[in-house]
């Protein structure tokens, strides 16, 4: 009888329970609350939070083991069958789909098939502000190095400021996979907080007059030189050429940008390749999202997550966002010093990316100051170029540091 009771106890996880584990559960519950009740990027935060929960059931065998566990001597690694055999299905997913760098480009293919380069093509000049808004990435990289992060960790921290989930995850996989969990959560959380962060920074840096700069009015006063006659042709040629140009100069951005542009291409071609675009945005992207979310969440075992670096990531990520937004705004202000045709600095703020929420937030702010000032299409131009901008920045970081 005693024997049975002791066996019963051994079977349970009661022995593995600890204060740290309880803390992780609370974190998972908070994330679930944010995702479900507050609607913070639920498509990613709910799977991530559930993955955190799964990983922190002692004895459940769903937590991701450190990469040392799968390394063998001679630069070789255990194979996926062995990983599943020894560490279970979550490690199989993680080492098969995430650590290989596979899922982020696959999700980017879906993002591409959902992206419309139209607004950007119609206001090409505004794309430049998608460059300025990458300054947060590199500023935080600098600060993080000063605070004692290694270069690779600092770069992964900085990339949160790119405000783009797959890019942040891809970069972190390549440079500092041990920080994957907190960085992914910070990235998605702050993207969900864009409706708070953008007004915060914009109100700090912009004058009332600037909020009221009316882009449509400007277009009437200084009409653009040429309109696009055959938008369909341009939309098909653009991703191909764009891919070639970025590939020449930043080859390490090819896995991300190449897949993004492929997805965009099959969408723009139309009905002839509709099946592919449909798969890219449907079955593939949704499946990838589930597996990415769960296994990124499962990296956050108590030992890994509860470290001072996590706090650094939470703070640093916020700063990166803020600086990126500020960078975009300031760049517009400088431009306005020299140009007759003024640009609303909110168009710079959306260079951050976080498509399309940043644009919506900026548009609402503009409308609040002047109810006829619709700037959504202009914001989308810099907003989309911000995605390219941070993918390029990621390419630079990876090529210098990996």
């Amino acid at each position: 009888m005693e024997d049975i009771l002791s066996k019963l106890y051994d079977m349970t996880a009661l022995g593995g329970f600890s204060f740290q584990v309880a803390l992780m559960w609370i974190i998972a519950f908070v994330l679930l609350y944010l995702g479900i009740k507050k609607g913070y990027e639920p498509l990613l935060l709910v799977p991530i939070a559930f993955g955190v929960l799964l990983a922190n059931f002692p004895g459940g065998g769903m937590g991701i083991v450190p990469a040392e566990n799968i390394a063998l001597e001679g630069g070789r690694y255990k194979n996926l069958f062995e990983i599943a055999h020894e560490y279970g299905i979550m490690n199989y997913l993680y080492y098969g789909l995430i650590k290989t760098g596979f899922l982020p480009p696959i999700i980017f293919m879906g993002v591409g098939a959902l992206t419309d380069f139209g607004p950007m093509l119609r206001n090409l000049k505004l794309a430049m502000f998608g460059a300025a808004a990458q300054i947060g990435i590199f500023s935080v990289l600098l600060v993080a190095v000063l605070l004692g992060f290694t270069l690779k960790e600092a770069a992964s921290l900085g990339i949160i400021g790119g405000a783009d989930g797959p890019t942040a995850i891809y970069t972190t996989i390549k440079l500092a996979p041990h920080l994957l969990g907190p960085i992914a959560i910070a990235a998605y959380s702050y993207m969900a907080l864009v409706p708070v962060i953008i007004p915060l920074v914009a109100n700090l840096l912009m004058t009332k007059k600037e909020f009221k700069i009316n882009m449509r009015q400007m277009d009437k006063e200084y009409p653009p030189k040429h309109s696009i006659k055959n938008i369909k042709a341009v939309k098909i040629i653009f991703p191909i050429v764009l891919g070639c140009v970025t590939a020449i100069f930043v080859p390490s951005s090819v896995p991300l940008l190449g897949m993004l542009l492929f997805g965009n291409l099959v969408k723009e071609i139309g009905s002839a390749t509709f099946r592919l675009a449909d798969a890219a945005t449907g079955a593939i992207m949704n499946t990838a999202t589930i597996f990415l979310g769960l296994s990124v969440g499962a990296t956050m075992t108590a030992e890994v997550f509860l470290s001072p670096k996590t706090l650094g990531i939470v703070v640093g990520g916020f700063i990166a966002f803020a600086i990126s937004i500020a960078g975009g705004i300031v760049a517009v202000k400088i431009y306005n010093l020299f140009a007759k045709k003024k640009i609303n600095p909110l168009v710079g703020a959306t260079g951050l990316s976080a498509v399309p929420m940043a644009s919506r937030v900026a548009n609402e702010m503009a409308l609040k100051h002047d109810s006829t000032n619709h700037i959504l299409q202009y914001c989308m131009a810099s907003n989309i170029s911000g995605v390219i901008g941070s993918a390029v920045a990621a390419g630079v970081l990876i090529s210098f540091l990996s």
Binding site: L124, A131, K229, N230, I237, V245, S385, A393, L397, L401
Partner: protein
């Protein structure tokens, strides 16, 4: 090289690259637009208007709206035959 120096140099290289690439994109985008305006004549999409031998307009419009909802905008009513 000191990490901090390397961080600074990455910052320079990174921002220069990002600006350079987006500058190129703006330039090349403009070239594509100009060339396509010149050499690729606009393809005008012709919306066929069908008239006779079809259900009344009201019903047609209602069904078209319904289909649009049902297919999340992916379908379109190309023809409704009276059976």
């Amino acid at each position: 090289m000191e990490p901090i120096n390397e961080a600074i140099s990455i910052m320079f290289v990174g921002m220069i690259t990002v600006f350079f690439i987006l500058f190129l994109i703006v330039g090349i985008g403009n070239v594509i637009i100009r060339l396509s305006n010149k050499y690729l004549p606009e393809e005008v999409a012709i919306i066929k208007v069908k008239k006779s031998n079809e259900p009344s307009n009201n019903t047609y419009a209602a069904i078209a709206a319904a289909i649009d909802i049902a297919t999340k905008g992916k379908g379109k009513v190309t023809n409704i035959k009276k059976l």
